[in-house]
Homo-oligomer: 224 residues x 2
């Protein structure tokens, strides 16, 4: 469980994560414009800035490993873009819930995967996935909005479910297509040298991801 | 020339600048999506991140001065948004030229104005207006594009002129509406306690701004 994954799995992991951070930048920058105040707009813009800093550290590491960052990110462009296209917020609150819940799921997922790679990659992943300040800000604003108008809660709960559904569907597609990455999780052919999770562990992982999601929705005052 | 301007002029200057940085973030983040490569997209996103960091320092200073950052930025929203609306790049190269030439004019202008405020505000302005890395990157990419297709130069030269025209027209409008800010430059009623530039100095300032613009266009390989 704690031994090294092979190079290509690490490159795929870092590539996926690097592109995830680049799209997180884009999405936060775009959603910032839905903000009702200049302070809210700047708050989201600052989160975007933190994401692009993470992106830079991941591409630096890819380059150190001798991988071309652009090539490493390439396989994940379609799925991640499709996720964002399919979950484009139409309101400021939807954007905030997406920043919090979507990033939360992604963070938990990448952290889980990083359990199967070398310690220095693992440290980098944990670092790149640090909360960039959205949690506190989003929880405060969303709870206030629900307090002001209870109907908001129902709409945002639905939105949260849509985010999870879309995330799982895209993750599934990536897993099907990327052998090295998914073999980290489920072993498979040629996995002898790649200690990985088995199916039982995978089940537990999804249970943990779901639990964490439910907890996050709860913090927002929303039913999962 | 080097003595303190009164508080409201400083607040107006910092407010204008803070909103300029917030819109610079937006614009760079948006134009990043026109990039033909993921590396180009990340390069512009990193510039955007630097702008939002500057924004944060300016709003921090406004708060220190007892001013409400949102209120201080308010008067400049319409003019700066109009500038960006009127100069929305339709290609990656137009976006790069705007990042370089537009920010260049803005930087020179704010630095000129800061000659009339207190030294610590002046230092902050100089710092906030530091090149965030766009110059080298933009010059390289634009010169390569012109080398590959000479017709690009003519189109981008026209674009540069449109940027300047739009910038001057919006600056003029702001100057007309904001007494405190424009009195820094041209004195006017009640200017006894506010040492400021006279009209001759203003003429020289515009000459310097124009010279610098011409020099920047030249570096890109473009006629001003």
């Amino acid at each position: 469980m704690t031994t090294r994954a092979d190079g290509s799995a690490v490159v795929e992991l870092l590539g996926a994560l690097a592109y995830a951070e680049l799209t997180a930048f884009d999405r936060l920058a775009e959603d910032a414009r839905l903000a009702p105040t200049l302070a809210g707009r700047a708050a989201l813009a600052r989160m975007a800035a933190a994401e692009i800093a993470h992106h830079g550290r991941l591409t630096d590491r890819l380059a150190e490993l001798g991988a071309d960052p652009q090539a490493a990110m390439g396989p994940f462009v379609v799925a991640l873009d499709a996720f964002h296209e399919g979950t484009r917020p139409s309101t400021w609150l939807e954007g905030l819930v997406k920043a919090y819940v979507g990033d939360g799921i992604a963070t938990d997922f990448y952290r889980e995967i990083s359990a199967y790679v070398d310690p220095s990659t693992q440290a980098l992943v944990h670092d790149a996935m640090q909360d960039v300040g959205q949690s506190e800000f989003v929880v405060k604003v969303v709870r206030e909005a629900i307090k002001a108008d209870e109907r908001v809660a129902g709409r945002l709960a639905l939105w949260g479910r849509r985010l999870v559904g879309e995330a799982l569907s895209q993750a599934q597609q990536v897993a099907v297509e990327r052998d090295a990455l998914s073999s980290l999780l489920v072993g498979g052919v040629g996995a002898r040298n790649r200690p990985s999770a088995d199916l039982a562990e995978l089940g537990r992982m999804f249970a943990r991801l779901t639990d964490e999601h439910t907890r996050r929705m709860g913090r927002l005052g929303l039913a999962a």
